[in-house]
């Protein structure tokens, strides 16, 4: 049994601000049912640019629900700039602490907040845009997320990284890579940071691609790069339709039954087509 603080139990049994604001200024969504927790955060600003209302809907354990509830209480009355200063540590502290293995719930809260603020700033989708290489395929955790959790929470072991980000908590194959990242961060602590290369939309002769050009490019990427990669693992993908920058696909073979497929799709395929075609590209799976 978990040793939850009084505040966690209180926020779990009596969650504050449950629901969804219909005409929200910002919407953020992180996690998935397959991963075991998922949070959708919506907020509305008042005339002075302060967060007047914040609502959440969460699938997850007691600490995930409590973290979401705490987050909505914490951001109310704050400006966007003030809200962005909130770290996962602040959420955990507000709750009187979380069990170490549950710290990822507080990280999920902070990520949902960032996704909602990015959405407010003009990001089209509510889902968090992944930046950097995916390290943990089971839970779809990128190197950037791991680095941030390590630096902000001063983590030093692989198990701590798992507690805070879930990375390495599934099949465990990425644990060596996480150890390398920890070593790299230790070495870098003095060295200057290197900037990530920005994603630039594909252009032809200085103009954006037409829908037809995008469609051809999409077919080519799926045929030559994505299908062979999936087929290696006994899976397959079929492009069914393309409309308003959304590629509709059906997953087949091992992919159709793989619980991690949704994550794989978002992280690898969507990222790939966003990089090659346009950052606005989205992928939707059609379930049969």
């Amino acid at each position: 049994m978990w040793n939850y603080s009084k505040n966690v139990v209180d926020h779990f049994l009596h969650p504050r601000n449950v629901g969804e604001i219909e005409d929200a200024d910002g919407v953020g969504e992180v996690g998935s049912l397959a991963c075991g927790d998922m949070l959708r955060l919506t907020f509305k600003l008042d005339a002075d640019g302060r967060i007047a209302d914040a609502r959440f809907k969460t699938f997850g354990c007691a600490s995930a629900i409590a973290s979401s509830s705490a987050l909505t209480e914490m951001i109310k009355g704050k400006t966007i700039e003030e809200a962005l200063m909130i770290t996962n540590r602040d959420i955990a502290e507000y709750l009187g602490g979380l069990p170490e293995q549950k710290m990822h719930c507080s990280v999920m809260g902070r990520e949902a907040l960032e996704a909602a603020i990015a959405n407010y700033h003009g990001e089209k989708t509510a889902t968090r845009q992944l930046e950097g290489k995916v390290v943990c395929k089971c839970f779809g955790v990128t190197e950037n997320q791991i680095r941030r959790a390590v630096i902000e929470n001063k983590l030093s072991t692989v198990d701590e990284v798992t507690n805070y980000t879930k990375a390495g908590g599934g099949c465990g194959q990425c644990r060596d890579r996480i150890a390398e990242i920890l070593d790299e961060i230790r070495e870098e602590q003095q060295a200057p940071a290197v900037e990530e290369a920005a994603v630039v939309p594909a252009e032809v002769g200085g103009r954006a691609l037409t829908t037809l050009e995008k469609m051809h490019l999409l077919e080519e990427i799926i045929e030559t790069r994505i299908r062979p990669a999936l087929q290696q693992d006994g899976g397959d993908i079929e492009l069914v339709d393309f409309d308003h920058n959304v590629a509709y696909v059906i997953l087949r073979g091992a992919c159709a039954t793989c619980p991690a497929a949704g994550i794989t799709m978002r992280q690898f395929i969507e990222k790939e087509i966003q990089k090659e075609i346009s950052p606005d590209m989205k992928l939707e799976e059609i379930k049969r």
């Binding site: 779990f12 449950v18 075991g36 549950k102 839970f139």
Partner: protein
């Protein structure tokens, strides 16, 4: 608040009769059964009586085939150790992917040590394909180990048939019968099983006592080496009170099993049907045709198990979950994964396990509060 205990596959209450039977050995009869004097020595015959009671429940030919241990886990480890230590040039172990960690982890440890270990998969209903076990058995096989009944789903495996298969090929066969003992009939006269493990606290005896059955004539190598106790097959001064207790618990199981099976099955079925009827998108996990009478494992789509357990806890209802969050790991239980249960449902899987002490009122109460709990969590969920 009244406790509604529907978690009997985790542990059971000590039966009042069992407690009475063990009491003298914690008070006036505290001597060491190995002593030469009467004060200690008189205790030994109570151990022998318990051995007979256990042998009766298991249908063992001879009480000498019963070794008392400290728990089911020790029994399992002893069987693994003994089979491999006496197998000379045979190194392969065959087991299933849904065993309790007390078998799964000893098997995995052997694999790490370089031995060949085959984990036989199950289908979506948690059933084994016997032909896969048959194919896996070869000349290098030192042991086959299959549980009688699964602790999470209650699914019962056809161990009698596997036993015959192993006997034909001359391969020792171990059965983890911790969940089966006392709930369904076990007859070792009919099933040629080599080793069989049971645990006291799963059948209304206290924690800290187990049994390993070893068929007569089986080469044996002790796991815990020490004094001459248990005919030098398990060192360590006997846990007399608990041994007497497990004997009494087995005796009670024999006399009550038929009646209890009917009663418990009826309660379980009413609970299960009630839940499936009232709560949308709820599903039974496992083969309902071959299942323990007391167990049901139900998945609630789009709700997380720990949250369900903690809300039930507010009403005093005790159950278990195969969700990731309850185990401290991040993946759902290995049994749910092996059965290919979708993660969206596995995270929301709840096991109710009843006992002879479960009542109609308790089932009514669960059926009254559970729908509200699931609805409340679904209203909280972004995907409902």
């Amino acid at each position: 608040m009244k406790t509604i205990y529907l978690d009997n596959n985790a542990t059971t209450s000590v039966a009042p009769e069992v407690f009475e039977a063990m009491k003298p050995f914690l008070t006036e009869l505290w001597g060491n059964p190995s002593s030469m004097h009467t004060f200690g020595g008189q205790v030994a015959r109570h151990i022998e009586r318990a051995r007979e009671q256990v042998a009766d429940l298991l249908g063992a030919e001879n009480p000498s085939e019963i070794i008392f241990t400290s728990c089911g886990t020790e029994s399992n480890n002893t069987a693994f150790h003994s089979a491999l230590a006496t197998a000379r040039d045979k190194h392969k172990v065959i087991t299933t992917s849904v065993e309790h960690p007390a078998v799964l982890n000893p098997a995995k440890q052997l694999a790490v040590q370089g031995r060949e270990v085959a984990f036989i998969p199950v289908d979506g209903m948690g059933r084994l394909d016997l032909s896969e076990i048959e194919r896996a058995i070869d000349g290098r096989t030192a042991l086959v180990s299959v549980m009688w009944a699964n602790n999470e789903t209650g699914v019962v495996f056809p161990v009698e048939r596997i036993a015959e298969m192993c006997e034909e090929r001359g391969v020792p066969f171990h059965v983890d019968a911790v969940q089966a003992a006392g709930k369904i009939p076990i007859d070792l006269k009919k099933a040629p099983i080599t080793f069989l493990s049971i645990s006291g606290h799963k059948l209304h005896a206290p924690k800290g006592v187990g049994v390993l059955y070893v068929r007569r004539g089986t080469p044996f190598s002790p796991f815990i080496v020490g004094g001459h106790q248990e005919h030098s097959r398990r060192g360590g001064t006997e846990n007399v009170a608990s041994i007497v207790a497990i004997g009494k618990a087995c005796e009670m199981a024999i006399s009550r099993m038929d009646e209890e099976r009917v009663k418990v099955t009826k309660l379980r079925d009413r609970l299960e049907k009630g839940i499936l009827d009232i709560i949308p998108r709820s599903f039974i996990h496992g083969d309902t045709q071959h299942r323990l009478p007391n167990t049901t494992n139900i998945g609630f789509e789009a709700v997380e198990g720990e949250a369900i357990l903690l809300l039930m806890n507010e009403y005093g209802i005790c159950a278990s979950s195969g969700s990731a969050c309850t185990s401290g790991s991040l993946d759902p239980s290995h049994v749910m994964i092996a059965m290919g249960i979708p993660f969206t449902r596995a995270h929301g899987s709840i096991r109710f396990s009843l006992s002879r002490y479960s009542t109609d009122e308790e089932i009514d109460f669960v059926l009254k509060v559970l729908p509200g709990i699931i609805q409340r969590l679904r209203e909280l969920s972004p995907v409902s």
